[in-house]
């Protein structure tokens, strides 16, 4: 790599539009701001957690245009025009999402730090419609780590909602 890497001169922020939890917002972002940091630091949406910050733990999982993604590895500027759904946006009309309800029912968390990412990931999994069994759910949830080891109950919660909501496709 270059011995001395000069800092590029005065790089302007870029104006982007994101629809975050249903609300269109115009935002000025620096190119190197990742979506996770924009949500937590600029927009005070701290439900999305920073775990490893390297795409290995899934705590930062959000939905972009309905697809589950690791927000720590996405540049905010590249999401211009997209719809972002975080854990704060899953409830409708004051009623929590069926998967949030199922996490409570199945006691699918202990410390709760990974839970927003687990739930967003589970919502994405159900929407994708590729899981046909609890084993499929386990495999397709492997991008979300839980250091408390609540995996059996997480799988039960996701699989319950998967079965009750059926294949959306």
């Amino acid at each position: 790599m270059p011995a001395a890497t000069p800092v590029p001169a005065a790089i302007a922020s870029q104006s982007i539009t994101l629809t975050i939890n249903g609300q269109p917002q115009q935002l000025d972002v620096q190119p190197w701001t990742v979506l996770l940091d924009l949500l937590r630091n600029e927009l005070d949406l701290t439900g999305t957690k920073k775990g490893c910050d390297h795409g290995q733990c899934g705590a930062c999982t959000v939905l972009v245009d309905g697809n589950r993604v690791n927000s720590c590895l996405l540049l905010a500027v590249m999401q211009d025009g997209r719809e972002i759904t975080t854990i704060e946006g899953l409830a409708t009309g004051g009623v929590i999402h069926p998967l949030q309800e199922a996490f409570i029912e199945h006691d699918a968390f202990q410390c709760g730090y990974c839970t927003p990412g687990q739930i967003c990931s589970g919502v994405g999994l159900i929407r994708e419609g590729h899981a046909k069994t609890a084993d499929d759910v386990r495999e397709l949830m492997s991008g979300n780590l839980c250091r408390c080891g609540c995996y059996p109950n997480i799988v039960k919660a996701v699989d319950d909602v998967r079965i009750s909501e059926g294949d959306p496709k």
């Binding site: 790599m1 270059p2 890497t5 800092v7 590029p8 790089i11 870029q14 620096q30 190119p31 190197w32 990742v34 910050d53 390297h54 795409g55 899934g58 999982t61 697809n67 589950r68 993604v69 690791n70 590895l73 996405l74 540049l75 500027v77 590249m78 990931s121 994405g124 999994l125 994708e128 590729h130 386990r138 495999e139 397709l140 949830m141 492997s142 991008g143 979300n144």
Partner: protein, 337 residues
């Protein structure tokens, strides 16, 4: 992450033009980088391994389709996500080896973002490449290799050099090597096609170069030949945990059978070399032989004929031989997957 400037390309030509002159800088840390899904690039920028001054965003380019080719094959647009590729009905039916390999890699979240073109360009997960406090000829040419005498359990046993023993991390690429895909690229000097076996490089004296793609060239698509080996195939991945881990050893095996006789064979390994390791000589040894374990074992030994183990990874030589034998047995239907 360090500051950089950002532009969004609205055509392949504009992207190439924007990167013109980048080729001379070399691959170790080019000052201009293209970004697709970015799942590996952003990670490497956070780790300060890559320090581009400018990113050119390719994700708005119209390279997101999977289309039929006149020869009966499929063309995968470079910006199709790994998930959309693996779950595409045509890919799943005609190239199940590719679908299986893609789904063996990464996590659902990463596969939703990572692109097919980007998968080819992901960098090694060698710990020393990622750790800027250590010597790494891939990251900083001429600095040395701390892996050779260090913790090298995940490293290569085939095609290594005294400069580098890193492995290529992709699962998808192992299947693409076995299927003999072709990579279509566009650069300042026009379009060209690169046979998959010539796309990635062995480390040799220049481990900073992972591929033969020039720094101002863009991958536009990947062509799959008509033959997809959909009847007799397997992707066997051996790793430290059942999901979401890189391969210690992986095997893409595909056979064409006439009764019990092998009439065509493909064999490629992941996790053992600086590139997906396809062995065409070993494939030829299988042709005309009965599909039995007695046929497979000597071929497996042959593939590892020049293997060299290091302090912590010599186990991969035996593991790879057994994995090849098992994978061929699975492909032949002698063993369940």
């Amino acid at each position: 992450m360090r500051a950089f400037s950002y532009t969004r390309a609205d055509s392949v030509g504009a992207a190439v033009q924007e990167a013109a002159g980048n080729a001379s800088i070399g691959d170790a840390s080019p000052l201009t980088k293209f970004i697709g899904g970015g799942t590996n690039l952003i990670d490497l920028m956070k780790a300060d391994v890559l320090r581009p001054h400018k990113l050119i965003d390719l994700t708005r380019l119209p390279l997101k389709e999977i289309v039929e080719r006149p020869d009966g094959g499929l063309r995968l647009g470079a910006l199709v996500t790994n998930a959309d590729t693996a779950y595409d009905k045509r890919v799943a039916a005609r190239y199940p080896l590719l679908a299986r390999a893609i789904l063996a890699g990464a996590s659902a979240q990463l596969r939703n973002v990572a692109t097919d073109g980007g998968n080819l360009l992901q960098r090694t997960r060698c710990y020393y490449f990622y750790d800027t406090a250590t010597a790494c000829n891939k990251r900083q040419p001429g600095s040395g290799c701390d892996a050779i005498e260090g913790i090298n359990r995940i490293h290569a046993v085939l095609g290594t050099s005294e400069q580098c023993i890193a492995t290529h991390p992709s699962d998808m690429c192992v299947a693409l090597a076995a299927l003999a895909a072709t990579v279509n690229v566009t650069g300042a000097e026009g379009d060209r096609q690169i046979a998959f076996k010539d796309f990635h490089r062995l480390p040799g004296e220049t481990p900073d170069l992972d591929t033969n793609l020039k720094a101002d060239e863009v991958i536009t698509s990947i062509d799959l030949p008509a033959e997809g080996f959909a009847n007799n195939f397997t992707y066997l991945k051996i790793r430290d945990r059942a999901s979401y881990a890189f391969a210690l050893v992986s095997v893409a095996a595909a056979l064409t059978l006439d009764g019990d006789t092998i009439t065509d064979a493909r064999l490629a390994l992941g996790g053992v070399a600086h590139k997906p390791w396809r062995d065409e000589q070993a494939e030829q040894m299988l042709v005309g032989k009965p599909a039995t374990v007695d046929t497979f074992k000597p071929v497996a030994a042959f593939v590892l004929r020049d293997a060299k183990g290091y302090e912590h990874n010599a186990f991969k030589i035996t593991l790879a031989q057994r994995a090849i034998s098992k994978a061929l047995s699975q492909a032949a239907g002698l063993e369940s997957v």
